[in-house]
Every structure is written in structure tokens, then in C-alpha cells.
């Protein structure tokens, strides 16, 4: 729990839970890259979804206008967050819902466990939710003697395999169909030994496995995709119907949601329900979306709870350059197009939030100095594919660069001996901030030529530059720089590049 001083919270208060990389990204990536099966599975899945997304996005003539609207709506939500939270609370409560506030992961877990205990149940069905993943709810409930049963197919696969999700939309994206079949045969009681790896058959097996649970569950735990401040309405977007089962059949429903998920009005939903499905599963619309506003007599759960979670969101909000990371609607488009994610998978990022958004969101929520999270903003070549794909136009590359700056600054003056990178950057700053100095250094180019030897390439460098030469040569430098050539030899239009070849002027080949 955070400290308080004279009634005012000390800012920022960072998040806890599954938001950390426990080993540095390059190290984790090295390991994951060694898994050829994983790379093949990820390559296949990400390429499938990329094509689907492009296809359905290109169908909409107003895609860019929708993105502009989505981005502006989210920006206004952040600017008006206190007011919208209070408005939502008022409306949700007026319709028979109960709101709980959780400062961090521990507090949220305790609240949920307490609410389940109050029902007298020891089992709850769950709809896939990033927020509960983030706070480690399942593990906490297990410690408390409560079984939380994941009902989303991919979550079920991961849970049965005692694995960790590696993608926010398709947590089992790192598994292919035959691996899924093997997991079902091994872990699913009563699975048909003749089960094939046909995805339809696998889905049917999951249906049978979960059916009884759905029909008898008394408590469900869910997340929420959107919350509308002006009405107190919550929305869950899903595909399989497991969401509808959990949101409709049990007596009690406990929803855990980050405070940033609000939208101001019902009208705003028309924007996000066009942006989200096309960006996430590459469908025109997801099979099912449920919306509910508090309790409806005779229809659905009669006990309705909502846990509003901070857990580092206010800290992210306090970072002016980084706050737009909170606009994220968890569609996963950025990871599906990311060349780094495609090769390392989600586990390399440590946190519940992998890929480009995870590389900014995790350190924003935990602070750059938490465990190995300062390695995350460097997990990008800054190619910009994520920014192009993001339905709410989060400028992820700019925030990555911003967080690199935060990281570098956080270490300034703290290290007794500067790292090789620090020293190199300092020297390069000196050399590259003057044409004269650079020109002088370029006089040394022939030395590099000498080092390159007769085959005119450099194949091994020491220190941090060894990373380069592990898979690439460096060409021998030229005998003189352009600058030198310009000063000494450039003689103007008719000499150096030649004028327009005369035979070619006017007469076309």
C-alpha cells in the first residue's frame, strides 16, 4: 500500500503483480529464439492475422477517420478521468451495482477473493481478462482455496498446460494445433483418445469439457472492454460464447477493470466497436458482444460487482509523454505486426503485456527501474509498424524513445564507471556536433581500410560492437570521405556526374 503525506498521495505510485520482466529482454529473447517450433508457430499465426486485418480494414472507407475519432476520445478520457470515474460510479451504483476501488494488485485480489467467499462458493468461472492476469488473480485465489476456471479456449489451453499466456488476444498463440491436441489428451479428463488436431474438433472438446461448469456456476469473474460513463454500462467483447455464459448464467458477477477503460458516452461505442474487432481478430465483427447496465431484474446475475483497478495506471498517466499508452484497447494488432514479437513471442517480455504496447506500458506502470523493465523499451528497431496498425494511434515508437531517455537519465551520475555505451555516446556527441571535428576524424578512414585487409571487410569488432559483427560484416571505409572529395575534387556540373548524356536528350529510347 502506498504512503501518504499530509493527505496527498506521493506520486507516482507504481503497479505490482505480473508486470515485470524478471530477466533482461535480450537474454530472454536469446532463449526464445532458440525454439524453432515456437518461431514457426508464431510466424504462421501472425502472418495469418496480418492478412486478415489488412483485408477487413481496407473495406472501410473511413478507417482513418475512425482512428482519429478513437484517438481523440481516448485523449479526452485521460484528460477528464477523475470526473468520468465519478460519473460512472454514480450511474453504475444507481443501477444496483457495487463499486470497489483497488490501489494495487494485492488489494484487488483480496477484494475479489472476499466477494467470492461471501457467496459461499469455492469455484468461479472466468472470462478472459487482462486485468486479472495482470494482478495474478488465479494464483491468489488458488492460495485461498478457490478454483478459478478459465473458459476462453486459448486461456484454457494455457491453464491446462500450466503455461503462461504469450499474447493478449490469443494467449496460446505459441502453440500449434497438434500441440493443443496433445495438451487436451494429457490434461482434460475424459478427452476422447481419438481426438484429432482439427481445430473444430478441438473446439468441440473444449465445449464438452466446460459445459457442465457453465451451467452450474454460481460466480463468474470477468474483465471489461469498455465502460460507458454516461450510463454506467459495461461491455465484454468475445467470440466463443463463454463470455455470455459467464455474464448471464451465474448469480454473481465480479468484474475487474482498469480505471482507463472508460468511454464518455454511448455514442463513443460506435467508434470502438468498429475499431476493435477488425484490429484484433481481423473480423468485421466479433461473434458476441454483451452489454449490461447494472442489474436487470430476472435477467442475468443479480449481484453485480466492479473492481476499479489503479495498479500503476495513475503513474502512467502522470507521464505526459507516455500517458497515451493508456489509450490501448488491447486489440493486439501492434504485436501481430511487430517483427520483434513475431520472432521472440510474448514470454520474452515477462509482463502480462507483451509486444510493442507491453514494451511501453509495463515500464510506465512499474517505473523504469523495476526489475529488468528498463530493457523493454529497447526491444524494438523503431520500424513503426505498430504505430501504423494501432487503431487508437498510440505513437509507440515515440514513447519507446522517450522511455529510453528516462532510462538513460535515471542512471546518470549513479554509476561510478560509465558503460561503454555511455562513453561512446559522449564521444560521438563531441565528434558529431561539429563538421570540423567530424572532418578531422574522417582523415583516419584509410586506417580503417588498413584494418579491413585485402578482402575489404571487417568481420570482428570488440565490446558492444561485437553484437554487430556476430552476423554482419562492415565494409572497408572508402579512401576519402565525401567532405574531402568535395573540397578537393568537386568541379561542378560538367565534370563529376556528367551532364545529361547528350544522345539521350529529347530522343526517347
Amino acid at each position: 500500500m502506498s504512503q501518504t503525506f499530509l493527505g496527498m498521495p506521493l506520486l507516482p505510485v507504481f503497479g505490482t503483480g505480473n508486470l515485470h520482466a524478471s530477466e533482461s529482454f535480450p537474454k530472454a529473447a536469446h532463449r526464445e529464439l532458440g525454439n524453432a517450433q515456437l518461431r514457426a508457430n508464431l510466424g504462421h499465426a501472425t502472418h495469418t492475422i496480418r492478412d486478415k486485418r489488412l483485408q477487413v480494414v481496407s473495406e472501410l472507407p473511413d478507417w482513418e477517420q475512425l482512428r482519429d475519432a478513437g484517438s481523440a476520445i481516448k485523449e479526452s478520457v485521460m484528460a477528464r478521468l477523475p470526473e468520468l470515474l465519478e460519473q460512472f460510479e454514480k450511474n453504475f451504483t444507481a443501477r444496483g451495482g457495487v463499486i470497489h476501488w483497488a490501489r494495487d494488485a494485492d488489494e484487488a485480489n483480496e477484494i475479489v477473493a472476499g466477494l467470492i467467499r461471501e457467496t459461499g462458493e469455492t469455484e468461479a468461472v472466468k472470462v478472459k481478462s487482462m486485468a486479472t492476469q495482470e494482478i495474478g488473480l488465479n494464483e491468489y485465489l488458488e492460495e485461498q482455496g478457490i478454483t478459478a476456471l478459465e473458459t476462453d479456449l486459448a486461456e484454457l489451453i494455457v491453464q491446462l498446460d500450466h503455461d503462461k499466456p504469450s499474447h493478449i488476444l490469443v494467449p496460446a498463440i505459441h502453440k500449434n494445433r497438434s500441440q493443443v491436441r496433445d495438451i487436451f489428451l494429457r490434461e482434460m479428463p475424459g478427452a476422447d483418445p481419438a481426438l484429432t488436431d482439427d481445430p473444430a474438433k478441438l473446439a468441440a472438446a473444449a465445449r464438452t469439457h466446460l459445459r457442465r461448469k457453465f451451467l452450474t456456476a454460481k460466480v463468474a469473474v470477468s474483465g471489461a472492454n469498455f465502460a460507458l460513463a454516461d450510463s454506467g454500462t459495461l461491455a465484454v467483447v468475445e467470440s466463443e460464447g463463454n463470455g455470455r455464459m459467464c455474464l448471464t448464467l451465474p448469480e454473481s458477477l465480479i468484474t475487474v477493470m482498469g480505471i482507463e477503460k472508460l468511454l464518455p458516452t454511448w455514442q463513443d461505442l460506435e467508434v470502438f466497436m468498429q475499431l476493435l474487432p477488425r484490429s484484433s481478430t481481423g473480423e468485421r465483427m466479433n461473434p458476441y458482444t454483451s452489454l449490461w447496465t447494472g442489474v436487470t431484474e430476472g435477467d442475468g446475475p443479480q449481484n453485480m460487482h466492479l473492481v476499479l483497478l489503479d495498479n500503476g495506471r495513475s503513474a502512467a498517466l502522470a507521464d505526459e509523454m507516455g500517458r497515451s499508452a493508456l489509450h490501448c484497447i488491447r486489440c493486439s494488432a501492434c504485436m501481430n505486426v511487430c517483427p520483434v514479437y513475431e520472432r521472440t513471442g510474448g514470454h520474452a517480455y515477462g509482463s502480462t503485456y507483451p509486444g510493442p504496447i507491453g514494451a511501453i506500458l509495463s515500464p510506465l506502470m512499474t517505473g523504469i527501474q523495476a526489475e529488468e523493465n528498463n530493457s523493454l523499451p529497447y526491444a524494438s528497431s523503431l520500424c513503426g509498424a505498430c504505430y501504423d496498425a494501432c487503431p487508437v494511434k498510440i505513437n509507440i515508437p515515440d514513447i519507446l524513445v522517450h522511455l529510453r531517455g528516462v532510462d538513460v537519465d535515471s542512471k546518470r551520475g549513479k554509476k561510478k564507471i560509465p558503460t561503454q555505451m555511455d562513453a561512446g555516446m559522449k564521444a560521438a556527441s563531441w565528434a558529431l556536433s561539429s563538421g570540423k571535428r567530424l572532418g578531422l576524424l574522417e582523415k583516419g578512414l584509410p586506417l580503417g581500410r588498413l584494418a579491413a585487409g585485402p578482402d575489404k571487410k571487417i568481420t570482428k569488432l570488440p565490446g558492444i560492437a561485437a553484437g554487430w559483427t556476430q552476423s554482419r560484416d562492415i565494409p572497408a571505409p572508402p579512401p576519402q570521405s565525401f567532405r574531402t572529395w568535395w573540397a578537393k575534387e568537386h568541379r561542378g556540373p560538367d565534370a563529376d556526374g556528367g551532364p545529361m548524356p547528350s544522345h539521350n536528350k529529347g530522343d526517347q529510347p
Binding site: 518461431r39 532510462d407 538513460v408 570540423k436 552476423s471
Partner: protein, 267 residues
């Protein structure tokens, strides 16, 4: 038109032929090219590595070198460096609290163009063969670098120019929009991932059967070329400016042995 050349540090020091080619093209079109001697580097290596404080003097130097009214536009044969000049310079100046530098940087950025952008949008080049005399009888594929594509929205300008070079056999690259894995210090800090990306890029290039891979950023081309060289491939990389500058009288110099396309060589 009086055009100031921003050679960029990597081209200045490692690939002077690219800058010479840029000069040749512009002079061939009858423009005057000047080379502001104070120039050095755009500073994006510093910025992208998080060393904003160290980037400021580099940015200030660039702004000072290019803020003269003595030329009409500035041009650089690099999408990445131009994107840095246009977007990063004002942003870093602001984040370091230097509002005056921010304004000056924005003014310099506004008159700075990437080469294909200048050729197509400002100078109206639609056919390199007839308007520039470009002749390059080789089998070439082309990698559009990320920053040109996504930060400057260059679209297919470079590719269109290459397509109109006489004698060229331009072969489409599979998955062209995939990053080559360079990313500045990313290639060292995350060398394994970067290498994995490069591997796929190199495989796609090799699959085209081209003898050369062209592009608009010397840094990416150095990365791709370095990877191909390490694999023992004979495929070379060459900046598109050098292909545009190449004529029968002054054919582009290509390191190593590259086969001429038979039949198409002679005009």
C-alpha cells in the same frame, strides 16, 4: 534552384559515392548544389538510444549549419535522417527546454527533403531514364526502409524512379515492408533478434534472384549488405541515388563482381 546537400554522417564517411551521385543528379538537372561545411550528423543515434542530452549539441550543430537563407531547399539521400531532422529535432529541443532551438529546428526541417521526395514532388521527375539519363542494366530488387515508408510516407516514389531507369530489371521483393532489423543501436543491444530479422530479409532478397538490392538509406543497406556478405552471398547493396546517377558514360561503380544483364547492356 540552389540546393544544400546534407550528406549524412554515414554517407559522408562510409559511402561517399552516394553523396556524389546525389550531387551528380541534381547538377545534371541544372541545379546548384552547395555543401554546408559545418554539417555532421542528424543525431538520431543519440536520440534513439535515449541520450537526449548528448543529442542536443549534435542537433544544434545541424540547425546552425542549415539555417542559412542562402539556399532554397536542403536534401539528404536518407529517409531516416530526414525524418529525424523533421520530427526529432524539434521534439528533443522542446523536451530539453530549448524553445528557441525548437523553432529554428522546425524551420530547417520544413525545408529539408528526402531525395526521392525532392525529385518527384518538387522537381517533377517521373521518368528517370529520359529526364536524368539513368541507365543501369542490372537485375535489382528494392527494400523500402521503414522510416522513409512510415515516418515520411514516401510511398513508392523511390521504386517508381527505379522502375523508369533504362535497362534495369527491377524485381519485387517479397514482404518488402518488413524491417531489416537494423534499428541503430538495436542491432547491437538486441543483436539476436536483429540478426533473426536480417536473416529473413536476406532470404527474401536472395529469393528474388537479383544481383543487387537497392534502397534509400545507407544504414539499412550497410546492415543488409553486411549480412549478405557474412553469408558469403555475392549480392551487393546500392543506394538508389547511385542507380539514378548511373549513365552509359558514367556507369555506377559497384564493389565486387556484378554481372551485367546480357543483351540490355548496349543502347
Amino acid at each position: 534552384m540552389k540546393i544544400a546537400l546534407f550528406a549524412t554522417c554515414i554517407v559522408d564517411a562510409m559511402y561517399p559515392a552516394t553523396a556524389k551521385a546525389t550531387v551528380a543528379i541534381l547538377e545534371r538537372l541544372g541545379h546548384e548544389v552547395v555543401f554546408p561545411g559545418g554539417q555532421a550528423c542528424c543525431g538520431q543515434m543519440h536520440v534513439n538510444s535515449g541520450y537526449f542530452k548528448e543529442a542536443v549539441p549534435v542537433i544544434a550543430n545541424h540547425v546552425a549549419a542549415f539555417e542559412s537563407d542562402d539556399y532554397d531547399v536542403a536534401v539528404a539521400p536518407s529517409g531516416s535522417c530526414v525524418a529525424s531532422v523533421k520530427h526529432q529535432h524539434p521534439m528533443i529541443a522542446r523536451s530539453c527546454g530549448d524553445r528557441a532551438l525548437e523553432k529554428r529546428a522546425a524551420a530547417v526541417g520544413a525545408k529539408t527533403y528526402e531525395l526521392s521526395e525532392l525529385l518527384v514532388d518538387v522537381l517533377g521527375i517521373t521518368d528517370a531514364g529520359s529526364q536524368l539519363g539513368s541507365w543501369f542494366p542490372h537485375r535489382v530488387t528494392y527494400h523500402p526502409s521503414c522510416h522513409g515508408m512510415r515516418l515520411l510516407r514516401l510511398g513508392d516514389r523511390q521504386q517508381r524512379l527505379l522502375n523508369t531507369v533504362r535497362g534495369i530489371d527491377l524485381i519485387p521483393l517479397p514482404e518488402p515492408d518488413q524491417c531489416c532489423g537494423f534499428g541503430g543501436t538495436f542491432s547491437m543491444k538486441n543483436a539476436d533478434v536483429s540478426s533473426a530479422m536480417l536473416e529473413d530479409k536476406a532470404a527474401n532478397i536472395t529469393a528474388t534472384g537479383a544481383s543487387l538490392c537497392s534502397g534509400g538509406d545507407a544504414s539499412c543497406l550497410m546492415h543488409i549488405g553486411g549480412g549478405l556478405s557474412r553469408q558469403g552471398s555475392s549480392i551487393r547493396t546500392l543506394h538508389f541515388a547511385e542507380i539514378l546517377a548511373s549513365t552509359e558514360q558514367h556507369p555506377a561503380q559497384i564493389a565486387g563482381e556484378v554481372q551485367l544483364l546480357s543483351g540490355k547492356a548496349a543502347q
